[in-house]
């Protein structure tokens, strides 16, 4: 790529900044460097007084090039952005600046700030408490704000066995949560019936939509963390998951009776 170099009238090329700029542009298009340099050097002394015709654009080019160099920018093989144009400039900027759509931004924000609801039922709740503890620290991911009220929570981690007496209560809590909301079924007992396949338990899929099932009895804290991170990935990659359509969960919002 040809670098346009304008020899400013009257300014000696050998001196300070211009010397630097020619050096930079010389490296960009190395083959022409020697000729112009020597040509500039020759006429430097001769046209000292004719400084009227200063090309503003060339000055700007030089200034940006020098800034690029000072920033430790690429000296070899890459074109400084100040002299790029068109498609190259766009690609160059896209590589460095994050552009996104609004949904992606919202999905990123939502996935990095789940507010789990404190919903421990049985043994899995102890391992869920372990992820809040220091070894598997859920605060690293931003999920340490466990909210007691379902109105303020958006992630329901069903940890433990759901008995038939508790199932309507769980459903009610899930309905009270505001959208968007997700549910993780932690452990074998709520995903399937687990160790206890009997009259007293209900698998959680029967009464509420669940996004991630984490197997284990109880799952290690690392396993639960893996499940939560899978959920985070789900939320990030596909923000409009269509979960209501997928699970046929239209109409799960809580409607208060008109008093």
């Amino acid at each position: 790529m040809e670098i346009r170099r304008e020899r400013l009238g009257g300014v000696p090329d050998g001196a300070g900044a211009s010397g630097v700029s020619t050096g930079a542009s010389g490296s960009g298009a190395g083959d022409a460097g020697a000729d112009t340099e020597s040509a500039g050097g020759e006429s430097a002394l001769g046209a000292g007084s004719a400084a009227a015709a200063i090309d503003g654009e060339a000055l700007r080019v030089r200034r940006l090039n020098s800034r690029q160099l000072l920033r430790g920018g690429d000296l070899e093989g890459r074109t400084p952005p100040a002299s790029m144009d068109g498609a190259d400039l766009e690609r160059y900027v896209q590589e460095r600046v994050l552009t996104t759509t609004l949904e992606k931004a919202a999905a990123w924000a939502r996935s990095n700030s789940f507010f789990p609801a404190t919903f421990g039922l049985a043994c899995c709740a102890i391992e869920m408490m372990s992820i809040v503890a220091a070894r598997v620290d859920v605060a690293r991911f931003g999920f340490e704000a466990f909210r007691a009220s379902p109105r303020q929570a958006d992630l329901l981690i069903l940890s433990g066995r759901v008995s038939i007496k508790m199932a309507p209560v769980v459903r009610r809590i899930y309905d009270q949560m505001l959208e968007p909301k997700w549910a993780i079924s932690m452990g074998a007992c709520c995903s399937s019936m687990g160790v206890f396949n009997n009259y007293a338990l209900v698998p959680s899929d029967k009464f509420m939509p669940v996004d991630v099932h984490v197997p284990g009895c109880p799952p290690r804290p690392e396993a639960l963390m893996h499940g939560i991170l899978k959920l985070r990935k789900m939320v990030q990659d596909d923000p409009d998951m269509g979960w209501r359509e997928r699970y046929g969960a239209i109409g799960t919002e809580e409607t208060l009776p008109s008093a």
Binding site: N197, Y199, A200, D205, F207, M208, G248, I250
Partner: protein, 174 residues
């Protein structure tokens, strides 16, 4: 535990004071007395006077198919001599009524409710006899031997009816 002789002496005392003692059993160094269900409250009061002042556990057993089918066991403990004694009674499932010992032994409150819930034994005189573990409107007494264990069937390939038919899948609606 009282040894075998001590057990027989206790049983003799109970008989002499008018309680119906149906059987004594000394098994694996543990002493148990089977009493007539009608005398349970006074028998326990008598044993309390003899030192067994702590009622550790009240639990039920289903001896199905042997009638009388429903058993209630009272585990007594004498803390000063570290002595344990089991008092058993059996009622038929057609008329499962026993007098409650809760007025004398407050610890039996929740435990008798659990026996009512799980076995269906009705405790006369209990201050608040209702289901404790199952929902209030549940029908049936789950711990009886002829109550089915329930649960979800494990879905294998041969009984997965919804494999190619999503409409048949029992899922979440609404």
């Amino acid at each position: 535990m009282p040894d075998a002789t001590g057990l027989e002496l206790i049983a003799q005392e109970l008989r002499e004071t008018g309680h119906g003692v149906l059987d004594t059993l000394f098994f694996r160094d543990r002493a148990s007395i089977v009493v007539d269900p009608a005398d349970i409250r006074s028998a326990l009061a008598h044993l309390r006077g003899r030192g067994y002042a702590f009622l550790a556990s009240v639990h039920g057993v289903d001896y199905h198919p042997v009638e009388p089918r429903l058993g209630v066991l009272y585990e007594l403990l004498d803390m000063t001599r570290v002595d344990r004694l089991t008092v058993k009674l059996r009622v038929a499932s057609q008329a499962p009524e026993v007098e409650s010992v809760t007025p004398d032994w407050p610890t039996a409150n929740h435990q008798e409710r659990e026996i009512y819930d799980m076995f269906g034994v009705v405790f006369r005189g209990h201050p608040d006899l209702r289901r404790i573990l199952m929902p209030e409107d549940y029908e049936g007494h789950p711990q009886r031997r002829d109550f089915p264990i329930g649960g979800e069937p494990v879905i294998f390939t041969h009984n997965d009816l919804a494999r190619n038919d999503p409409a048949a899948r029992e899922g979440v609606r609404g």
